[in-house]
Symmetry: C2
Subunit: 358 residues, 2 copies
């Protein structure tokens, strides 16, 4: 998997860039994309940047039938002085390979991928919005392309990276979300694919997401797939609880996604002398802590929102208000600090923010 | 969802048909395919038969990222006198809609789909091989096509049906398979997508399939996702046990696929006065029954193999031989009877076999 020469084919006409004030998530894409192919004979080969364009696939391409596919999500930020930064991108390619392992997809060269990504982002840098809260969402993904209905790992794949300018997750200030504790549908079980970023985990969650919406809740709080007792994730975010001044989060157990924002929150709090307790946390414990007044904050962590405070929680027909429905001080500090590091407005003692131009 | 007029565009050049003696599963496809689109405004519309051709999709098409897709599998048979039959196709479209429900995909008109399928199979009838054990495998599937990275049900879909001539599953006689009892990886858990035919269930199983192969076993025997104690499926088949003259099969529990061959086996045995006991069956019970000599047969049921006897089973490092590694009389009778009904060689008192031409 030595690094290969990147071929660049520039688009001859450039698309009009969207208004940064009205951006939606993941609906518009930049002028170029990265592609690379895999065959069992040649391995990963032909890395190239090409104009953003449709894919042509046989109807029997395995991705349509057996879902052998993995993806990642990260963001590029641009400051008003033109500095361009990626946030911990090496972690995304490390996790991409971890997902590949679970789905029996051949691994990629992580260092080469980071270099290719830098070239792509630099080429399309005018697509990175600079307004507060905006960024360029980066979506690397791999699909199995072999045209056969045989149920076994494919022998051909394509890796792509597409770029989408995204708006502020919080238009008009951070508004805590309400969540619905799901005790019927399961996101993931031990031995399943829960800690891989693979397609089936996401569409499998829609049914529960619709039910949460029916209850006027924005997100699902997922319990473990075995006892339906221990908290796993919120929507597609990891989740943290502040109880009696201490921060707690569900320990990684193979069915919880190993969030990069989760990891950063833990490292950030530890650097401030606030160790995070990673352990099994039952929903009953959280409800009891809320009733007794010891539950001070609940917040989700993820690439899209960075930090998403939870203001309300429904469990077994009861609605519980958390911290009077307001964002807590820890969530606020984490949000400001992480966004500050991501955008380059705050100093980065951790070396998380990778300056690729500036 | 009223039935709409089917548009047929015939291929101008026809492909060479493969040698029926050397057919592989799902590698070659017929001259035509069926397509139909869905938009939230128009519902399912524009049913059409077109030459088999590649699909063109945006790289952001949701199927690549979030796996919102379902499929079915059934077979068409052609006799030497030209009779063409489908086996219980209405059950496949019923199950397709059941899968759609779990994946939040808009349902299809089952009767209309059956009519469209008949037209497609009749048009490509020369692709149905007639050699013993061969058939035309029919693969209906639906993919989400909307180009957005938003994690929610798509607003546009395409349904396709492709056809692939397949060879005899048993080249040179029925050879009982060996299976590996998987006690680490999970296929499905309660509240998950196990009883939907959706892509992620299949690629999520590759890791275990590779481990079974490392142990020189052809298939995985899946245990339940909670206790890793009760038997669920074998490979992508349902599984039956003959113990002390009685037939037992795991009861449907939401994580087991509701196989149409499974259902047919149960109905067939019941019609012969052999009721099937649908219940929870632990792996320990099966091992004990084998040790005591009361386990007479184990066999899988599915569209591909119809009946697949199990001759050897590995559990926790021990290999157990079942029925001296031979096919049992019940499996053999079921295989002959089902294949006879499917091909029209035996009388069909159940009305399962749908004659579409002849």
């Amino acid at each position: 998997m030595a690094q290969q020469t990147l071929e660049v084919t520039q688009a001859t006409t450039l698309k009009e860039k969207p208004n940064p004030a009205t951006l939606e998530f993941g609906k518009q894409f930049s002028d170029h994309m990265f592609m690379m192919d895999y065959t069992s004979d040649e391995g990963w080969h032909d890395p190239r940047i090409v104009p953003y364009q449709p894919l042509t696939l046989d109807p029997a391409a395995m991705v349509f039938h057996y879902g052998q596919t993995v993806f990642e999500g990260l963001k590029a930020y641009r400051s008003n002085d033109g500095d361009i930064r990626l946030f911990r991108p090496e972690e995304n390619f490390r996790r991409l390979n971890q997902s590949c392992d679970r789905l029996c997809i051949p691994k990629v060269n992580e260092e080469a991928m980071l270099d290719y990504l830098k070239e792509l982002v630099k080429l399309d840098k005018e697509w990175i919005p600079t307004n507060a809260g905006t960024s360029l969402y980066v979506r690397p993904f791999i699909i199995s392309t072999e045209a056969t209905l045989d149920v076994s790992p494919a022998r051909t794949y394509t890796l792509m990276v597409i770029l989408s300018p995204v708006g502020s997750f919080y238009k008009g200030g951070i508004d805590p979300v309400s969540i619905f504790v799901e005790d019927e549908y399961t996101r993931a079980a031990p031995g399943g694919t829960g800690n891989a970023k693979t397609a089936g985990n996401y569409s499998g969650a829609y049914k529960a997401q619709n039910r949460a919406a029916d209850h006027q809740k924005a997100q699902v709080l997922w319990l473990d797939g075995v006892e339906k007792k221990y908290i796993e994730e919120v929507g597609s975010m990891n989740v943290f609880f502040k109880i009696d001044g201490e921060i707690h989060t569900p320990a990684l157990n193979g069915s919880i996604l190993e969030g990069i924002t989760r990891k950063s929150v833990i490292e950030l709090l530890e650097s401030e002398g606030m160790p995070v307790r990673e352990r099994k946390i039952s929903i009953e414990e959280v409800i009891a802590a809320n009733e007794s007044g010891s539950l001070q904050e609940v917040f989700g962590t993820g690439t899209a929102a960075v930090i998403s405070p939870v203001g309300r929680l429904e469990y077994k027909g009861h609605d519980y208000v958390i911290n009077d429905g307001a964002m807590g001080e820890t969530a606020r500090w984490l949000h400001e600090t992480l966004v500050g590091i991501q955008t380059g407005e705050l100093e980065d003692p951790f070396g998380w923010s990778v300056l690729i131009e500036g």
